[in-house]
């Protein structure tokens, strides 16, 4: 063989292999980036983006840099269309998303059919994993976890704090009537029954309500001790304001995420009115960092990239879920769907290791069984973590 021929082919081979080493691996980021859900959709996506940035800076996964391709799940139809585009046109190896349960449920139908993995990092409805899909995994805690923790907080802490036996308490469960409020309330009823709690009434109302005075009057008349509410911003504000004005002061009000976790709600209601109100939701930022190592670095990275503090716990939870999954994939042999599924199934992380606190192990229906919510309370106009004890930064305050 001629020397020049040998040299040419060697040069070409080297160039090709160098090119392959620079190849990127594409993943889809499917969130509602516009429309009514845009605020928290964008917030959630930021968590994913920060995780990808961190991992790329450390060398990427399997020697490749991660590239995120955005898909806008502005409504359910769009979610399906975008999932199709990401899987067939863009050729992503997996999709991360999606904040909204409805969008997630719609889009994952496409990926399951195509045999592409779907990692849900933030939606809470049970139905997402209840369908028993092979390629869908959920990293975050669910509506069931939320209900479980609300009841647990009552039995373990709140009952004693207000000086009554759990079984003596009169509990009212009120909720907005879409799938979010209904699924949490349903699970709350199940867990309350298991714990032997007395639920005197369960009532739904439309989230788009302008008045809750008859509901407040009803609860006041029944002399309810504790109210569990699952609601968005508008109805949380209405309920808290109208209860205060009608002179209805239950011993405790426990919100299920939604409006109860948001600063604008506290500002609208008034810091003095919302003082002492409890809330169960994704891990937020006023938490014991011994339980959540890496949280402060995350907040700093968020501040550096986006110029403001994180607006909710959604970014944190998406960050943690994405980071765990991607780091695991970094140790896999390739990006084939079945390899990904096998790798993710073997993840085993204890609580107290991730920035959100909870551990990772995927069980039945590919749900992360170690995912947990945290219990929080509004104190002095700030939402602080009070439960479980390992995550709390201050104890729960009780009204006299």
């Amino acid at each position: 063989m001629k020397l020049s021929y040998l040299l040419k082919t060697t040069a070409i081979a080297l160039a090709l292999s160098a090119g392959a080493a620079q190849a990127d691996v594409k993943f889809g980021a499917l969130y509602p980036f516009s429309g009514q859900l845009a605020l928290l959709g964008e917030e959630s996506a930021r968590g994913l983006e920060l995780a990808v940035e961190e991992i790329n800076a450390a060398g990427g996964i399997q020697g490749e840099q991660i590239v995120l391709v955005r898909g806008d799940a502005v409504d359910n139809n769009q979610a399906i269309g975008e999932a199709r585009r990401l899987t067939s046109l863009e050729g992503v190896k997996a999709i991360f998303g999606t904040y909204s349960s409805a969008r997630s449920i719609a889009a994952s139908q496409v990926t399951e059919l195509a045999g592409i993995p779907y990692f849900e990092l933030g939606a809470v409805a049970e139905e997402v994993t209840d369908r028993g899909m092979k390629y869908l995994f959920r990293t975050n805690p669910t509506a069931d976890d939320m209900a479980k923790m609300v009841v647990e907080m009552v039995v373990e802490k709140v009952a004693a704090g207000i000086g009554k036996e759990p079984t003596e308490l009169k509990i009212a469960i009120i909720h907005e009537d879409s799938s979010y409020g209904t699924s949490v309330a349903e699970r709350q009823n199940v867990y309350a029954k298991e714990a032997g709690l007395n639920v005197v009434t369960t009532q739904a109302y439309p989230a788009a309500t302008v008045d809750m005075s008859s509901l407040v009057l009803d609860l006041k008349n029944r002399e309810v001790d504790i109210v569990f509410q699952t609601s968005y911003q508008n109805d949380s504000v209405l309920f808290l304001q109208q209860s205060n004005e009608a002179g209805f002061k239950p011993s405790a009000i426990i919100g299920g995420g939604g409006g109860y976790s948001m600063q604008p709600t506290a500002d609208a209601v008034g810091h003095d009115v919302i003082e002492g109100v409890l809330d169960v939701d994704f891990t937020q930022y006023n938490v014991n960092t011994e339980y959540t190592p890496g949280l402060e670095q995350f907040v700093q990275a968020y501040q550096n990239k986006y110029g403001s503090a994180p607006r909710s716990g959604h970014s944190l939870n998406n960050y943690v879920g994405a980071k765990v999954i991607l780091e695991a994939l970094g140790k896999a042999s390739d990006f084939e769907p079945d390899t990904i599924v096998e790798t993710v199934k073997s993840i085993d992380i204890e609580p107290g290791v991730t920035a959100a606190g909870y551990g990772f192990k995927f069980g039945e229906n590919n749900q992360n069984e170690r995912a947990e919510m945290t219990g929080m309370q509004w104190q002095n106009g700030e939402l602080v973590t009070v439960y479980p004890d390992s995550a709390a930064i201050v104890p729960i305050k009780y009204s006299e």
Partner: protein, 295 residues
């Protein structure tokens, strides 16, 4: 008994809230004969305007009515002149409906762009002070809404029956072609009516803003009930709108307390259906007015 009276008071307050929002709608619906689906968004615009003016200028929310009512009047007049009037000669009446739906969507998304998705709260300025009338308790702001709704209804009635312009408006509502033959400039009447209807919503928004959280969706919370109230009372009947609003408010309050929160809307719409079946033109309308339908 005390509880019953409180539920009654809540119902009356809720009714006057619906009345003050619906009275502008019945004017537009009854006279211009346009289904204004952007009516709720007019309320939203007014509420955001009140919020901005109150927080920037630090004045009492009620003082902003000097700016908000004329601004809303302008919005209504422009909507009629630029959006509805060109479509009035369209073959299909439904085109105007689509136009107002489009306006509604545009306004909602504009609000989302400018103010974001979080709620905005107009400072309460003492309007959330509970007031006790014997066994019954409500807010000072609610009392103002009640008084204002009665005042607006009376003022509009006087305007429509005693003034020349008011009579012209009623003439156009009764028979557009005949009114035109009588020398009334129908297009100007429509613009004026739309403007007045929107201005009424402007006043409503100023009164409501200190009591309810403002968001881009706030209009959608009110609009369906506003339409129910207007149809129940009879198209174009101001007094009917007031009565309809009171009925809906009372049913909502009583059903919410005695039956359950989940079934409030069922009760309201069931009564609505029954009344319409028995009296299709609404409670206070004498006959079905079809003069706007072209031959």
């Amino acid at each position: 008994m005390n509880t019953f009276l409180q539920v009654l008071a809540n119902g009356i307050m809720l009714g006057s809230l619906f009345a003050i929002v619906a009275v502008g709608l019945t004017l537009i619906f009854g006279i211009v004969k346009v289904v204004n689906f952007a009516h709720g968004e007019f309320l939203m615009v007014g509420m955001y305007l009140t919020y901005v003016l109150t927080t920037w200028m630090g004045i009492h929310p009620f003082a902003t009515v000097i700016l908000v009512a004329p601004a809303l009047f302008l919005l209504g007049a422009l909507t009629q002149r630029l959006l509805i009037q060109p479509l009035m000669s369209a073959d299909d009446d439904h085109i105007q409906i689509f136009a107002t739906v489009g306006l509604s969507t545009a306004l909602i998304n504009l609000a989302l762009l400018v103010f974001g998705a979080d709620i905005a709260s107009t400072p309460t300025s003492g309007l959330r002070t509970p007031v006790e009338f014997g066994p019954v308790r409500f807010l000072s702001g609610q009392l103002v809404i009640f008084v204002a709704s009665v005042a607006i209804v009376l003022a509009l009635q006087i305007f429509l029956s005693r003034t020349q312009t008011g009579r012209a408006i009623r003439a156009v509502a009764q028979n557009r072609a005949a009114a035109q033959l009588m020398g009334i400039n129908v297009n100007w009447i429509y613009i004026l009516t739309f403007g007045i209807g929107a201005a009424c919503v402007g006043v409503a928004s100023v009164l409501i803003a200190p009591l309810y959280p403002t968001s881009s969706g706030i209009g959608t919370y009110f609009v369906l009930t506003a339409f129910v109230v207007v149809v129940l009372g009879g198209l174009g009947s101001i007094g009917g709108a007031f009565a309809g609003a009171m009925i809906i408010g009372l049913i909502d309050s009583f059903a919410g307390f005695y039956i359950g929160s989940d079934l409030r809307e069922v009760a309201v719409f069931s009564v609505f259906l029954v009344i319409l079946i028995l009296k299709p033109s609404g409670l206070f309308s004498s006959r079905l007015n079809l003069s706007h339908v072209s031959p």
